[in-house]
């Protein structure tokens, strides 16, 4: 045993915002191994320029945003391809946003409705000024060429 044992000192300091009370900067970040699990075929579809939805094998409902099991009857769904053209069901232009998205403001969010599909799809509308957007506007899907395997790989423009 060494009664003169010492912890090593470091040159790192602490960012201090205030002294009464003491408020310090406390950094935190993490990388996840995030699995899309049963939704993976949707993201694989984006890389091939396809929008994949779900078709309930029990009640026949079609979902624009995929889900492995039907929200209404609970049956398993199969994959179905969605049309690339739809209409704006509702919209907003965001001038502020969460920290990660502030640099992208202003951006326009739309919920897209497709003929013959029972639910909607959330996406960005690009190439339209805020005052040019309206409910019912016909829109068309476009896909990033360099796929990121994120839902943002697809976006919409006016059709």
């Amino acid at each position: 045993m060494d009664p003169r044992a010492k912890l090593p000192e470091s040159e790192e300091g602490t960012v201090l915002f205030n002294t009464d009370p003491i408020v310090i900067k406390d950094h935190y970040e993490i990388d996840y191994r995030h699995s899309y699990a049963q939704d993976s075929p949707f993201f694989a579809g984006l890389a091939r320029g396809k929008l994949m939805g779900s078709h309930c094998q029990g009640c026949g409902r079609r979902y624009a945003t995929p889900r492995g099991h039907c929200m209404e009857c609970g049956s398993a769904t199969t994959w179905c391809e969605l049309p690339h053209e739809g209409r704006v069901h509702t919209y907003t232009t965001c001038y502020y946003g969460s920290e990660s998205f502030l640099k992208e403001t202003p951006y326009t969010l739309i919920l897209v409705e497709f003929t013959g599909v029972d639910t909607l799809f959330l996406s960005r509308l690009v190439g339209a000024a805020p005052e040019e957007v309206s409910i019912g506007l016909k829109v068309r899907a476009r896909f990033l060429r360099n796929c990121k395997f994120k839902v943002t790989d697809v976006y919409f423009v006016s059709a």
């Binding site: 965001c94 998205f101 909607l120 994120k150």
Partner: protein, 430 residues
Amino acid sequence: MRPVYMISGGITKFVKAQPHKDFRLMVREAYDYALADLPGLTPETIDGSVCSYFSDHFTRQVMAGAMVQDYLGLNPKPSRRVEGGGATGGICFQSAWEAVASGRHEVCLAMGFETMSRVNTWKGNEFIALASDTNFDYPLGGFYTGYYAMMVRRHMHEFGTTVEQMAKVAVKNHGNALHNPFAQSPAMLTVDEVRSAPMVATPLTVLDCCTMSDGAAVAILASEEAASALGGTPVRITGIGSGSDAMRLADRPHSEVLILPHENPEDYEGLRFPGVHSFRGGRMAARSAYRMAGITDPGTDLDFVELHDAFTSSEIQTCEDLGLCRYGEGGSYIDSGASFLPNLNYGLKFSGSEQWRPVPVNPSGGLLACGHPIGATGLMQAVFAFWQLQGSLAKHLGNSMLQLPEPRRGLIHSHAGTGTTITVTIMERV
């Protein structure tokens, strides 16, 4: 199930940032307020607690509820944490009700807090947006104001609701809060000021939105036997309801309206429900709570409502969900002045319509003006409703401007994530 009463409550002042107090001390202050308000009530009489806070991210502490429990000196009594987004406080209140109604506890403490100032506002919005689907919603912009903006845009399309009608909600609630010293942002506003404020997400300006807050609130619930032994002026909890809907707005069905007892399916021919314009979970919660409390016409049977107005638009939509007016009438309802306090001057001209009985909505100032420290918010509503029904607002607020004459029955409403989880609770004067 046996009858349950609220016997005391306490809140801290809600503020933008309270760096001098951590979450434990804030809850302690609200708890001490509640104990001091009912002399018979001591820590020994409390059998256990339920703690509500929304986000481990904001708190930077997992199991913070356990830390509050020991800070209040309540170990080794039972305690648990509940969480349900913006409805966390309402769920906490109902969980404490369940503990007493079931006979598990004679006296149960519901305690909630949020310390949102620990990150900047935009990081805070990011934390909140993590309560939307992180695969399909969050990556598009991760911004709840944007989601609610899309909902009200559709409400405007379906029903002709206007931004000026929404602005009147802000005028009312900030105006009410001028008489509430616990409120974070009391203000005398005009419709023009609300509309000319910075745009956040069209059509919602910054004054259409509530702010982030630090704060805590507690409600103490008891059985009939315990309530009568402890004295004071208990208020009975007569109705409990809750409801849910799909997390993703995109998944919401377009089906038939859930009908309340005073409505007919013919009222809503051709209306697809809930779509993204209405909160089906709120309608479900109201229906269950009304059934339990024996309410057949909420507009007649309720004397006031404290509802979750995180956005001005949410108040208009929620008045419809609760059946204070019919779907589509929320805009005309606010125009009529029925939801304003009759004794206050808001600088507004009302439509003169007498279609609806006056039922003040958010007499406390609501989330818009009181603030929204998420885990505390639903309990804050319970405390204001409790004081309102006790007739003790003058004692707690230092003035009687918000005190209704002889209110018999009030409703509190707590709401999460574009209506994903909603609670409705009915409280009655004994």
